[in-house]
Subunit: 324 residues, 4 copies
């Protein structure tokens, strides 16, 4: 089961100067559900410990509501919050999603040939103009356009110097998806994908296929005509009526800029008094950079869930159910 | 319980020449859960019959997969489909969502003062430049900008003449939302809103707050600072860390153009042979026009679900639970 | 889809003088999910109207809490209750379970050869001493022992004369069950059966296999040994570790005596003042008699749920999922 | 949070010669959801490691299906099984239920004054004739009748000498339960209790209140009359119509005898060849003895679930929801 650890590498920060320097040692411990290298059919428990938490870093902000963070809402909802890095609202929480997604990706690939991959489509003003899948692994940004990587580096360096951050657009794609995934009305595949992707920290928008570009499209232009050898286009992004069509699933997300920046911001403390906050901790200038494997993982988990609904929870083993 | 019937009026087509001429008489029958004018706490069953279905209209398309429709995916998934208007994938299905949403809206308003309303923000190239809530009820488009209503009418007339359709953007807002709705990780309020809105027919994108505009925003610009009298802005759109902040919930959706148009389109029939399809039935040139009450209903249902989680299913009645 | 109406006959009261005289005309209307005689894969909606409700019968008890009924708990929980026959707590509610169960039984039988049947094992002091499946359809009690049917009739006549009622034990069996149904820990098949059967009105106990007789059994006696041609016995009742073993599922339930009897009983009214209640309406002297088809239906629904989990929701249609 | 460790003591075996000698060191590690001694409102993760697993003990039975165990069904369902102690079907799995139940018990007690306790009502032929709550803690059997403790010891010694085991009946009671817990139809409190208790390993029967004794009771005898100062009796066991009445919840379970005994039993191996099995490992002669805290835990978890539904997930903290 080393695949989990292997895939985890993708999310691990500290791999370049453009992501945080914390040595998050995302070691995954498999607690249950695996025996002699195979899944047993029973639930798989995964544990990732936070080994590099520096609680003292957070002492200063213990009584402050950081703008753009969940401090205020958690405090209001629960009357208590774990201020050491945000607790459940920390982006650390996504580590276990990537781990679970690694299992889903492996299952989908080996069993059905589904292949899921993503990339940084735009960071602030800098959009990828071409999609070179091979380039994605060559730069620390999951960026598919080699011609603009230098520009990206300079932009991020300037941003860091400014003590500021920026948003990003991530695209994620599933190839060779079985036709027929998704249920009518309540558990539409596109709705489940929207739920999964919007549940990622900092995501503020989700698109399937042409997304918001549809607003200005005409019906004669948008609807994907069907030829004898398949669909003539894929503006729908792989679902029709909430059910997968067998075309590639195309999803896109918008991530807000990191809220923890050096630029001072106004806030109040827990007693309601005004305060100014500057964050000097270890934070990425763009959380979007690291969101690619998280988005891939969430898409994989949704697809796996629907495959298991359609084919049964034990799709992977010969089933002894007798049929007449 | 006439409120349900009353609110239903909003979705009823045939109210102008810009929406389909079918006399969908959306009469709601309350089957259970209401006694002597009050809800009993047990499930409320609603039934809306389709009284104006003209099955013969659909005979021509019985064996064709209409491009942009769920015909192909339903047939592939189930091996059978109700071709008379699409069955579960028909936009008729949304009628009962509006009915259920009417109950949720009433409950939220009377119990917590939550007020939910929406409008057509953009139709094809025509965007509302100002937000005049009073104007929305004065035109048949839920459009908030009186200065562009004529332009909208001419655009739609031309579209109809062309036998074509167009997409739309709908904005929906909840005012006076309680702080603290939403659960960490799995049932974030924003994720549930994305799920609910993406589950509406023809929706291809969902935004919370600034949505995709975040991609180009800086952290110093995006994060909503907190003053002693509240938040200084609302770029987040009312949630922080997936939990409502008490600010207005702001959501936006993209709807694709109607796929059923007079313009001929290529497709295949159920045996795989090529075919050309033209739809001469009664269809809106922009499904987005009627989507406003549907989006309002879905937002109301999500908020009601979360209010009940937080306050208990019986938030509305005095509870006899003893406390120490 | 006449099978549903056909199976419903079983539960319809008024078929002998031993069950209530109300002409409950359990006509099932199929609202959705069926097209041209086949299920479409989308949800099946069933509606059974209560056509013989005599609300005036209940006016006398409007402000009284009937002992043994849900009047008190519904009033306490909700602050309102539908006193006309109990609303959701009425045994009328089970009609739709039988209708849904008819679909499940048909599916399980035709697809997997599963056969579900039940019988009245004991009524008050009168237990069946032999199990003759053919006899069950010949008497109005679902009783499998012809030699004691007369005794049963006299006992019930005397009970009615006394204005009293009595409890019953029902046994329900599923034959030819696929091995492997049930999930570890949370959704064990036996736990789901217990949930389903205990949810039937008036049920106070559930047994799987030998049930409470296990308390005095020894391990050497209870454990079902395994021979080359199968299990040597079936004390377990068809599940091991919460998963079906392929043996018959054996379940047994205890039903309390009807609470609505002519014998006066002490109670209080809604203001807390003491009152005496006598029920002169149309009530069975033993609710257990009519519980046989309900128990069969609930067992069928649980098994169908687990079959679909294991084989996918669309077990019934050829699935186009590609495999490598 | 030492309460969890404290309550865990109850289930820990090896405390007398009547339960297995394995030093199961049930140390609970709290992974999440607790901060500075208080719950944060986010999910509480608990981890109990199996520190004394002797896998070699199980090598002999690797290829055998132990009668009365889940070996056969897991192998059939999954095509693989963790033979080292049964994996998910091991009674070790109940340790974490007791840990979670400890939290639920503490919450229910401190917040609502609910008190949950249980006892061994019968072991084989030896039934408690009196219920002395103080006695339960004085003997290693959770047995409430001091006059029969010696008899119990001799019986168990003889059983061990015989290499055999026996079944048991456990009673569990919740005092001071709030009225109004439970939902109509689907999530009745009694049905949920039946589900929870039947999901415990080795449980074969569940009763609420008078349970199977109802079969021979008359309506005039069974129905609990209501006096001005409350119910005159509690044959119903604390629920009416599936909703708690405020009376004590009374539940009873039957546990089958331990299947792992020294007495040889017939079985087959994984290839279908006949085999004889004798279990010499560390096993209790009556699993029922240790089931008392497990049953208490499950009842507590069900009640807590329903309290949170009724009062909201955050019943414990001041809620900022504004009301008109």
């Amino acid at each position: 089961m080393t695949f989990a650890l292997c895939v985890m590498e993708c999310r691990k920060p500290g791999q370049s100067r453009y992501t945080t320097a914390r040595s998050e040692n995302d070691r995954v411990e498999i607690l249950s559900g695996v025996f002699e290298g195979r899944t047993t059919g029973t639930p798989i428990g995964l544990l990732i410990r936070n080994t590099d938490q520096r609680s003292k870093d957070y002492a200063r902000i213990k009584n402050l509501f950081r703008p753009g963070h969940a401090d205020y809402t958690y405090q209001q909802k629960y009357g208590i919050r774990d201020y050491r890095g945000g607790g459940r609202s920390s982006s650390r929480e996504t580590a276990v999603r990537v781990a679970a997604g690694a299992i889903a990706k492996k299952y989908l690939r080996e069993r059905f040939g589904v292949h899921i991959r993503g990339y940084l489509a735009k960071l602030g003003p800098i959009a990828a103009m071409q999609l070179d899948w091979d380039e994605i692994g060559r730069n620390p940004f999951f960026f598919p356009d080699a011609s603009r990587v230098d520009e990206l580096k300079h932009y991020l360096d300037a941003l860091r110097k400014d003590g500021d951050s920026v948003g990003a657009r991530i695209n994620v794609i599933a190839h060779s998806v079985p036709v027929g995934l998704g249920e009518p009305v309540f558990d539409r595949l596109d709705a489940d994908i929207a739920h999964a992707l919007m549940s990622i920290n900092a995501v503020k928008g989700v698109e399937i296929g042409d997304g918001f570009a549809c607003v200005e499209q005409r019906g004669s232009e948008h609807r994907d005509e069907i030829m004898q050898n398949g669909f003539a286009s894929n503006r729908a992004g792989g679902t029709l009526g909430g059910i997968s069509s067998g075309q590639d699933i195309l999803a896109s997300i918008a991530l807000k800029p990191t809220s923890s920046i050096r630029t001072p911001g106004k806030t109040v403390d827990i007693t309601g008094d005004p305060a100014v906050i500057e964050t000097h901790g270890r934070h990425d200038p763009c959380v979007g950079i690291r969101a690619v494997p998280i988005a891939e993982a969430m898409l994989a988990l949704v697809l796996m869930d629907h495959v298991l609904r359609d084919r049964g929870q034990n799709a992977d083993v010969p089933r002894p159910l007798r049929e007449r």
